[in-house]
């Protein structure tokens, strides 16, 4: 039988670039298979998608060699429209793949292009919406859909054209976790129907792996690094993928870490379920009298792996929000005092929020979309003007601070770094705030150069900020928010859509700032970040603070997690199940105290599974 996709010796170089983006790729995908494509950002994954549906060579300029056959037909020999109807792509950004205003018009767009008779359209539109799991009315306005439903609409648009191959190009990277769940659910339905060959480019892998039949790994130069069964590839390439900054399932990270510690699981796990099977439902019986002592050591080891963590005892016990007179403590603390807010005459976005973030805290604000997270944070920078007596920085009312004073106290890193750039060069970008304050030029030079070096931007001092890479822009935007030595740094979704390397780099910067006593406030959907970095977490639901305390306490409260539409990250889930199965409860060491990070769990498991090795 002809394979759905046959790629042979595919090399492509965009016009105006020196290096090819794809290099000598060859692989064959039989009909009905679901293939995950992994690769570093900028590594040609999207280019591959364009090659599959004929946009290359028919719509995008460049130099192509090698061939792509879809069901045995050469894409070069067929017009774009013919290949495009067989290979549908769902793109990354839900905002930029539509050209009409209504759901049915948008789905009809592809049908119109195919020349489908009008009489057949309503039926095909309804069928596509059904298959994509889009439950709204056909005349719904697109801008009223949630992010997840917009991606389902994108899928419905493609499905209506009845393609045999579906390509998903990072379909969840612009979505919140709830949206990602919606998209994965749609993928799962398609997989069960079994009518499509699917190519999935994705970096959010937790919750996806059970759908994947095969993994293809692209290298940074666009060549094929590996191709095979998920278990084999993720096991063999774990180290390499980490080095290239590619996310792998957290459970795989754990398995890789265990391997480093000399423990090889019989079957490399891809999901939490599989990990539990591998680890066994109960802990191995430790030699009597040894476990406690050893796990004690293990516990200590795990702390040492996180030099950023102060000992838990050092964190002041979390109290409920301060009463109304509450004016927070020293510099760097943040206090909201009975703050309510709504836009115009709309519904209340914040309802009587009282909250104190201690100076030096590393605090995450989480909650569903529209819960008021950004609205709350924007009051700190006076983008929204709070009433007098409701928002305090240290002991000063935000309303009493001038714009300049405010800028020197609070740094705010926006989601899109480009929005913050005001100068022509990286150097001037950093010098901007200092020049406004008439700092002498030699001092500016010294300060800027020190910060450039610290952020690895020194060789780019004269570059235009807009021409930096994604990660460099991020770093620069954070650096601009530190040059005035602000006490408080607010970050809006810092890991959103970032590859692993950028995300980890950014978080290590934040950890370092936290160690230096800065207050870090993060608005985030990234529960892994919360589990691994946040010291306190604030949960907002419908504009109300429903939880404030340690992340552990939040994760332990299943009802609250559901209410806030949060899902525990895999390591939290794994730790809970280990606890349920009475793993490592000697001396109560595991209970609550052990951070739910890959590293600390790996160390703990290594200690239990092979105590003698840890003892060495």
């Amino acid at each position: 039988m002809t394979p759905a996709i046959a790629v042979d010796g595919l090399t492509f170089r965009y016009r105006g670039r020196k290096e090819p983006c794809l290099r000598d790729l060859s692989f064959v995908v039989p009909a009905g298979e679901t293939v995950l494509v992994l690769g570093p950002s900028g590594g040609g994954k999207s280019t591959l998608a364009f090659c599959l549906n004929g946009m290359i060579p028919h719509g995008i300029d460049g130099e192509l060699s090698g061939t792509v056959h879809i069901h045995g037909r050469d894409t070069r020999a067929r017009p774009l429209a013919a290949t495009a109807r067989e290979v549908g792509i769902v793109f990354q950004d839900p905002e930029t793949q539509f050209c009409t205003l209504r759901v049915d018009d948008e789905i009809a767009f592809g049908l119109e292009n195919l020349g489908v008779p009008r009489a057949q359209m309503p039926e095909r539109i309804a069928a596509a919406m059904e298959a994509a799991g889009l439950g709204c009315k056909p005349d719904t306005r697109i801008d009223h859909l949630s992010g997840g439903n917009k991606q389902r609409l994108a899928l419905a648009c493609v499905l209506a054209m009845q393609p045999s191959v579906l390509v998903f190009d990072e379909p969840t990277s612009n979505l919140d976790p709830a949206g990602a769940v919606e998209v994965f659910a749609a993928l799962r339905r398609l997989k069960i129907r079994g009518e499509h060959t699917m190519i999935v480019v994705e970096h959010r892998l937790d919750g996806l792996m059970d759908l994947i039949d095969r993994v293809i790994v692209l290298g940074p130069d666009g060549s094929l690094i590996d191709d095979g069964a998920p278990r084999r590839v993720l096991s063999d390439q774990a180290v390499r993928l980490e080095r290239e900054g590619i996310w792998i399932p957290q459970v795989c990270e754990l398995a890789a870490q265990l391997k480093v510690r000399g423990i090889e699981l019989a079957r490399y796990p891809l999901t939490v379920d599989e990990a539990m099977v591998e680890l066994g439902t109960s802990p191995p019986a430790p030699p009597l009298g040894r476990a406690g002592r050893l796990s004690g050591e293990v516990g200590r080891v795990s702390w040492q792996h996180h030099p950023g963590l102060p000992s838990r005892a050092a964190i002041a016990p979390i109290e409920p929000p301060l009463p109304s007179q509450g004016r927070g403590g020293g510099r760097g603390s943040l206090t909201f005092n009975h703050l309510s807010y709504r836009y115009g005459k709309g519904p209340w976005v914040l309802r009587d929020v009282s909250l104190t973030v201690q100076a030096g805290d590393f605090c995450a604000i989480v909650g569903p979309n529209g819960a008021g997270k950004s609205t709350l944070a924007q009051h700190l920078i006076a983008t929204l003007r709070p009433p007098r007596g409701t928002v305090f920085l240290g002991d000063r009312d935000v309303r009493d601070l001038s714009a300049t004073e405010l800028a020197s106290t609070v740094g705010y890193v926006f989601q899109n770094p480009e929005h913050q750039f005001v100068a022509r060069t990286v150097f001037d970008e950093l010098a901007f705030g200092l020049r406004l304050r008439r700092v002498p030029e030699p001092d500016i030079r010294a300060k800027v150069e020190a910060l450039l070096a610290e952020f690895g931007l020194a060789r780019l001092a004269l570059a235009n900020p807009f021409q930096l890479s994604h990660g460099e822009k991020r770093r620069l935007s954070v650096a601009t928010m530190l040059i005035l030595e602000q006490h408080v740094l607010v970050l809006d979704e810092p890991t959103f859509g970032q590859d692993r390397r950028n995300a980890e780099m950014l978080l290590s910067i934040c950890e370092q700032l936290h160690r230096n006593g800065r207050t870090i406030l993060m608005i985030t959907h990234d529960m892994r970040l919360v589990a691994e970095h946040a010291r306190t977490v604030v949960v907002l639901v419908d504009g109300k603070v429903v939880y404030r305390g340690e992340p552990q306490g939040l994760f332990a409260d299943a009802a609250l997690m559901r209410r806030a539409q949060l899902a525990p990250p895999p390591m939290v889930e794994l730790r809970r199940r280990l606890l349920d199965n009475k793993w490592m409860d000697a001396d109560g060491l595991l209970s609550g105290a052990l951070p739910a990070t890959v590293e600390s769990l790996a160390t703990m498991l290594a200690g239990t599974l092979a105590p003698e090795r840890v003892a060495v």
Partner: protein, 273 residues
């Protein structure tokens, strides 16, 4: 979103073919430009506003709100055109109002009123159009019935989707710049620089977004060729006939009646002098 006033609905006016309404507005403009008197445009405007309200099932507020800025402009327009109208002032020197060297003659006032009412009438006609015409329906009609290039038409539609997106991005850029301390003070030069500062990220992002939309459209076979079909048929129907005949008859009747009264085309209607 103030740029486009379309108000969703399913009234008689909403169901008209957009091109019928477009032609009506165009025709009315031509007629009003040819007739220079204060009464005709006033009558047209006074007929248009309530009938738009009834036939379009629109609340008075919806119609009057966009008219608010017009009232102020009309006031200024009346006085400037009125005061500076000098022709024939020897014939009709009767002054209504005098401040220093500025004299508002009867004829000047009539002239000011005719210009002001004419603009009011044209404004009312375009409200009938914009309040009840869905932009995408207009584009579909242009593409299907007036053979506007579909690539151009869909391009405009895709761009239209960007308006709210740009709006929120601009707000974010403004806030981001304020946090940097790029404050709100300063003269026109500073303001100009600030504006450029907003535009650079907005356009840089806009170009990338436009590129992505274009790719997404092509990936769904947009370049397909001439065999395109249409989901929403755009055609003229009985409503369009009724509307054209009705408005045509009313317009002719109004013009004839005004002519009979001797008001048509006379800057100073007989009842004044």
């Amino acid at each position: 979103m103030s740029l486009f006033l379309y108000h969703e609905g399913s009234s008689f006016l909403h169901r008209l073919n957009p091109l019928t309404k477009l032609l009506f507005v165009g025709l009315l403009m031509v007629v009003l430009t040819l007739i220079l008197d204060p009464i005709t445009p006033l009558v047209v405007a006074l007929l248009l506003l309530p009938s738009t309200m009834v036939l379009g099932r629109l609340s008075p507020g919806l119609l009057l709100r966009p008219l608010r800025p017009f009232v102020l402009a009309a006031f200024g327009l009346f006085w400037t055109t009125g005061l500076f109208y000098a022709a024939d002032s020897a014939l009709h020197p009767r002054a209504l109002f005098q401040v220093g060297p500025a004299v508002l003659t009867e004829l000047g006032a009539a002239y000011g009123a005719s210009i002001t009412f004419r603009i009011l009438a044209i404004f009312a006609a375009s409200l009938l159009f914009t309040l009840t015409t869905e932009p995408s329906a207009l584009l579909q009609a242009l593409i299907q019935q007036w053979r506007v290039s579909y690539r151009f038409g869909y391009g405009v539609m895709a761009a239209y989707r960007f308006v709210p997106l740009f709006d929120s991005q601009l707000a974010s850029i403004r806030a981001a710049h304020r946090v940097r301390g790029a404050g709100s003070s300063g003269g026109p030069v500073a303001r100009y620089h600030r504006f450029i500062g907003y535009m650079v990220p907005l356009l840089a992002g806009g170009v990338r977004q436009a590129e992505r939309v274009a790719l997404a459209m092509d990936a769904r076979g947009f370049s397909g060729g001439s065999s395109r079909t249409y989901y929403r048929e755009s055609a003229f129907g009985w409503r369009d006939l009724v509307f054209s005949a009705g408005t045509g008859a009313v317009l002719v009747a109004v013009l004839l009646e005004l002519h009979a009264l001797g008001w048509l085309g006379r800057l100073l209607p007989p009842f004044v002098s």
